[in-house]
Amino acid sequence: MRIGVITFPGSLDDRDAIRAVAIAGATPVALWHGEHDLQGVDAIILPGGFSYGDYLRAGAIASHAPIMAEVISAADRGVPVLGICNGFQMLAEARLVPGAHTRNAHQQFIRRDQRMRVENVRTDWTNQFTAGQEITIPLKNADGRFVADADTLARIEDNGQVVFRYIGVNPNGSLNDIAGVANERGNVVGLMPHPEHATEPGFGPDTELAMASGVDGLPFFESVIASFAAAV
């Protein structure tokens, strides 16, 4: 399976995402925002970072990049797309997932190992989790406050489109403690915390067993590989 990771001007975590894809056992493909060629990849990751310095709104300018036209049509065809942090903001700006992001309620940039609960294990990016599983992966953002109007919130709660919910601490004031959402079909998932930073022992969050041993991010990538294997 070939998974594309798109680099935008100001992407920071594209290399980590590429590494995570390889660790999970798929072939990473580096893609460039300015092109229209997805190189026939089987899934797409929009990585974290600060594309265009968060100018206009976080993810807004990148959401109009040439390659995003191809990402939108691929998503409509059912190709799995994962947006992480800035990538989540791009998905929201491109209207591929509901909601939007505003400045953290406390106005500060925040970085912490974040606990959250997997609320929906039927998406292409979460099928290797167990329902209600609690995981810890790194979070780091300034504009991470998920917002949507009351009707949209009620709809995505009813549809099971709330895929991840913060537990313990709501780090940014997101409504309903929402950490990540999916489109209705479940092939497009966006979340604020960073699974790609928790895929390799020695470089993840601390666990009760050992420092930096957390690899709770790995099932994201294993899930999309399993989805692909099931579809072929």
Binding site: L56, A60, A92, A100, V147
Partner: protein, 79 residues
């Protein structure tokens, strides 16, 4: 402008500063954005319509922001 029901932490921070300055008559501050788009020559109705469309589709995000007004300024004002 950020939608009325939306938390505007930037505005709240400025409101806090106002009260610390003793400006007690102001009960709230909300902060929006202003875009000045420059063109050569006159602004016709079609161009204005295009800018209104851009204001809704790109300059703002309708999930969190409202477009308050789109006006034509003369060159002397924007220079």
């Amino acid at each position: 402008m950020p939608k009325a029901e939306l938390l505007d932490p930037q505005g709240k921070a400025v409101a806090g500063a106002l009260s610390r300055l003793g400006k007690t008559r102001f009960t709230g501050v909300r902060i929006g954005k202003r875009f000045e788009v420059t063109v050569d020559g006159e602004v016709d109705a079609a161009l204005l319509a295009e800018v209104r469309e851009l204001a809704v589709d790109m300059f703002s995000n309708s999930v969190i922001e409202d477009v308050v007004s789109v006006d034509v300024l003369d060159a002397a004002v924007t220079a």
